[in-house]
């Protein structure tokens, strides 16, 4: 079985004006599609074929660079599309809210730490909200690495992530990455984040 590019549950223009339709279309149909097909190419005919993406990432140091880069790219974008949704952001609630308050001080402090991690990641990469047992931490990774990988400095289950490769925001925001991060808060699907927190 090979990996498939997921369909989005909303239209390319659904996150306007925060994330523009052209960016969404190229990001999904070109970048994510390329990671997916290159991942399939990297594992085709090998013993890795048939393993889940989580299994591949957990032992990524044993695999080729192509599996690390494209497997990460495949997983990360899957998560990214799902933790966003049109219709205005809700807020974290219930157990997730409690965990954010307990681990990171408050929702505002969490947002500040997450935005800072995203803004200061030099070059291409991602910032994450990571579940470690019952607690949460904020981290960032270079390129297409993520916290599921055995090579990550901060390991755990990512429950929220922002793509800070320039391709995620350059057509609309150009050099102003902080403006893109501000806009990202407006499209977060906190219900999905809570679901991932619950596990």
């Amino acid at each position: 079985m090979s990996f498939e590019l997921p369909k989005l549950s909303y239209a390319y223009d659904a996150l306007e004006p925060y994330i523009d339709a052209q960016t969404m279309e190229i990001h999904h149909s070109k970048h994510h599609a390329a990671y997916t097909s290159k991942l399939n190419g990297a594992i085709e005919g090998s013993e890795l074929e048939g393993k889940s993406i989580e299994e591949l990432l957990a032992n990524v140091s044993n695999h080729s660079t192509a599996v690390r880069n494209n497997g990460g790219g495949f997983y990360n974008h899957n998560l990214y599309w799902e933790i966003m949704a049109p219709g205005g952001a809700s807020q974290p609630e219930g157990d997730l809210l409690k965990a954010i308050n307990d681990s990171l001080g408050s929702v505002d402090k969490f947002k500040e730490a997450f935005a800072n991690a995203a803004a200061t990641r030099f070059g291409s990469g991602w910032a994450w909200l990571v579940k470690q047992g019952d607690s949460l931490v904020v981290s960032s990774t270079p390129n297409q690495d993520n916290p599921l990988m055995d090579v990550a400095d901060v390991k755990g289950t990512p429950i929220l992530g922002i793509d800070v490769w320039e391709h995620a925001y350059y057509l609309k925001y150009q050099n102003k990455r902080p403006d893109y991060i501000d806009a990202f808060w407006k499209v977060i699907n906190w219900g999905e984040v809570a679901k991932r927190f619950k596990g």
């Binding site: 970048h31 390129n143 391709h167 350059y170 050099n175």
Partner: protein, 191 residues
């Protein structure tokens, strides 16, 4: 001592249609300028306060390195273009390229491949070692081959900001157009 953004030796529209004026507005006017500004914010009070840029590239770490090397790399990149430059390497440089890659076309193909396949943000470089031998290297983010004792003579910026407004995900198309505005006279002088 403070660092300054060097003036471009051509108009920002001069590399059209290969590199757009809009791209240069941002790439030179915003990204390059921001690296200069951040470097100037970071060096006062450090041991690099009176250092020249090359020393910073060779010796600094962290934010001073990232911003200092990006100032150096971008200046090196922008200065090698011309709308009406020399289109092919000549003389000694041509001979040195042919010694490694057989033909100039073969070299261009190998360099283009290096530029296209660097994963994430970074640079592809043509460098020479102490013996004058040429090679192609890739570096990530701000990294610069001078750290490894090599002398850069040509570079291609493959951070997405270098081409995304013009070419989006089509990095190979950007690299193809890169050759059309490269001034080999500048590259020869560096060699």
């Amino acid at each position: 001592m403070s660092f300054e953004l060097p003036a471009l030796p051509y108009a920002k529209s001069a590399l059209e249609p290969y590199i757009s004026e809009k791209t240069l507005d941002f790439h030179y006017g915003k990204h390059h300028q921001t690296y200069v500004n951040k470097l100037n914010d970071l060096v006062p009070g450090t041991k690099f306060e009176n250092a020249d840029l090359e020393t910073i590239v060779k010796e600094a770490e962290g934010g001073i390195f990232n911003n200092g090397a990006q100032v150096w790399n971008h200046t090196f990149y922008f200065m090698q273009f011309s709308p009406d430059g020399c289109k092919e390497p000549k003389d000694k440089l041509k001979t040195a390229i042919e010694a490694e890659w057989k033909t100039v076309e073969d070299f261009k193909e190998a360099f283009s491949q290096a530029a296209a396949t660097l994963f994430g943000s970074g640079w592809a470089w043509l460098v020479k070692d102490d013996a004058g031998k040429l090679s192609i290297v890739q570096t990530s983010n701000a990294a610069n081959p001078m750290r490894d004792g090599l002398t850069p003579i040509l570079t291609c910026d493959v951070w997405e900001h270098a081409y995304y407004l013009d070419k989006q995900n089509a990095r190979p198309k950007y690299v193809e157009d890169f050759w059309k505005v490269l001034d080999w006279k500048v590259v020869s002088e560096r060699f």
